[in-house]
């Protein structure tokens, strides 16, 4: 079957098997390997991408189900060479070690800050509770997201731009 969708603002159209999962479509068909493929059971959250501005687990979504929709991956966070404040925050506050969970963490964080520009640490922990990090103990991830939130409050940026 043919699927057509916008991925990071670019229209893509490909012939796929209906059983192709969105994570494999993004990685193997489009070559966007920033989206990681982890537990394959919708637990770890490293495969999170946005479909129509909402984070979803792409290992549990068919590419066919995303046809006709707007998909955003971690590659779409940086715009014209400028990192998203969430990406900057992860650099500034050591929000990653091995980097495996990072794409999902950052996309979920971006969605949180778009809805709630001034989250508490508890709200951040709740928002990322569907993602697993085995390196950081989460503290630096929470700090990274707070860094991004603080930066955006000081210098409002257009959120959700892609």
């Amino acid at each position: 079957m043919e699927v057509t969708m916008s991925v990071n603002g670019d229209d893509v159209s490909q012939e796929i098997e209906p059983r192709t999962l969105l994570v494999h479509f993004i990685r193997d068909h489009l070559g966007l390997t920033g989206t990681h493929w982890g537990c394959d059971t919708s637990n770890c959250g490293t495969c999170v991408v946005w479909v129509d501005d909402e984070p979803v687990k792409s290992c549990t979504t068919l590419a066919a189900m995303a046809s006709g929709h707007d998909v955003r991956t971690v590659e779409g966070m940086e715009v014209d060479g400028v990192l998203d404040p969430v990406q900057e925050g992860f650099i500034q506050c050591h929000g990653l070690q091995c980097g495996f969970c990072t794409p999902g963490m950052m996309l979920t964080a971006r969605a949180l800050l778009d809805r709630n520009p001034d989250p508490t640490d508890g709200e951040i922990r709740e928002a990322i509770s569907g993602q697993i990090c085995r390196c950081t103990g989460y503290s630096t991830i929470v700090r990274s997201i707070q860094w991004a939130a603080a930066k955006e409050r000081e210098t409002p940026v257009e959120v959700g731009a892609s």
Binding site: R19, L21, S42, G45, V56, T60, T61, L62, S129, G130
Partner: protein, 291 residues
């Protein structure tokens, strides 16, 4: 790599279209809503439908929470996140917010739906226990029209519901009664996990006594809808810790859990009792304006 077995994909644009597709494709077709139960089962090849009918385009037609008069009507495509965030729903049926806070995780809740959860009919699935406790009824639509069945009749057993081939669940209806309260308590090993055990309770007060009370249990037996001895024990009684303990014991006596990686049968039976007590206590507090 876990990948589903091959299937043909169709996308429905309306309820009528979905029903027509099911009729045309036959009993090897399955509906997929959020997909967070069915797709994992397909990846494990526990489910191998020949046709998958995507009903996500029905989110506008079947995604709603309407509090109207003495009834709440919730569309089957209403997603977990909407159930969690609806203040209108929390005001009349706080049990939904209690449960939704502990169903899966926020990202999964963006996709999973009320209808999908109920139709999956997993014995460890929270919303079946919720809908049982609050006396919900289910609207099932097929080619020949609509029928409305009670939650007790809807939930036939593990992974089995009253929805027949060519039919779909479209709406859940819940009566709103004055002086009522509801609550849900769950024990899970880690955030977002399935319940080790959970219990939901709903009560309606008549002055100082409980006119009507129900408890729904989850993860402690194959089919625990409509536990009549609990309702009988609550009816006409004044709320008290002794009453909650008695009812909790009935819940434990009706529980038939299995020992597995989430806990021993004895522990789950204990939880059935304790969570029933806690849910009843909170439901009564809410019904009597103490919370």
């Amino acid at each position: 790599m876990q990948v589903p077995a091959p299937f043909e994909y169709e996308r429905a644009t309306s309820v009528d279209h979905a029903i027509a597709l099911m009729e045309r494709l036959g009993d090897e077709a399955r509906l997929v809503a959020g997909g967070h139960s069915l797709i994992p089962m397909m990846k494990l090849r526990l489910a191998t439908p020949e046709y998958l009918i995507d009903i996500n385009d029905l989110a506008s037609e079947l995604g709603y929470i309407r509090v109207e008069g003495d009834e709440v009507r919730i569309g089957a495509m209403t997603r977990h996140r909407e159930l969690l965030e609806s203040n209108d729903l929390a005001a009349v049926l706080p049990i939904f917010r209690d449960a939704e806070k502990v169903i899966a995780d926020p990202v999964v809740r963006n996709r999973g739906t009320l209808g999908g959860s109920l139709c999956q009919a997993d014995p460890s699935e929270d919303l079946s226990a919720v809908c049982d406790a609050i006396g919900a009824s289910c609207v099932i639509r097929g080619r020949s029209g609509e029928r409305v069945v009670s939650m007790h009749d809807f939930h036939r057993g593990p992974y089995e519901t009253a929805v027949a081939d060519g039919e779909m669940l479209t709406e859940v209806r819940v009566p709103i009664r004055p002086h009522s309260g509801s609550a849900y308590h769950k024990v899970e090993r880690r955030a977002g996990d399935w319940a080790v055990a959970s219990a939901g309770a709903a009560v309606t007060m008549d002055g100082d006594v409980i006119a009507d009370g129900r408890v729904g249990l989850c993860a402690v037996g194959p089919n625990l809808t409509n536990i009549e001895p609990i309702s009988a024990a609550l009816s006409g009684q004044a709320p008290s810790e002794d009453l909650y303990a008695t009812v909790g014991q009935i819940a434990a006596d009706n529980a038939t859990p299995s020992t597995d990686t989430r806990g021993t049968a004895a522990y789950k039976t204990h939880l059935a009792k304790e969570l029933t007590i806690r849910s009843l206590r909170k439901a009564v507090a809410r019904a009597t304006g103490q919370e």
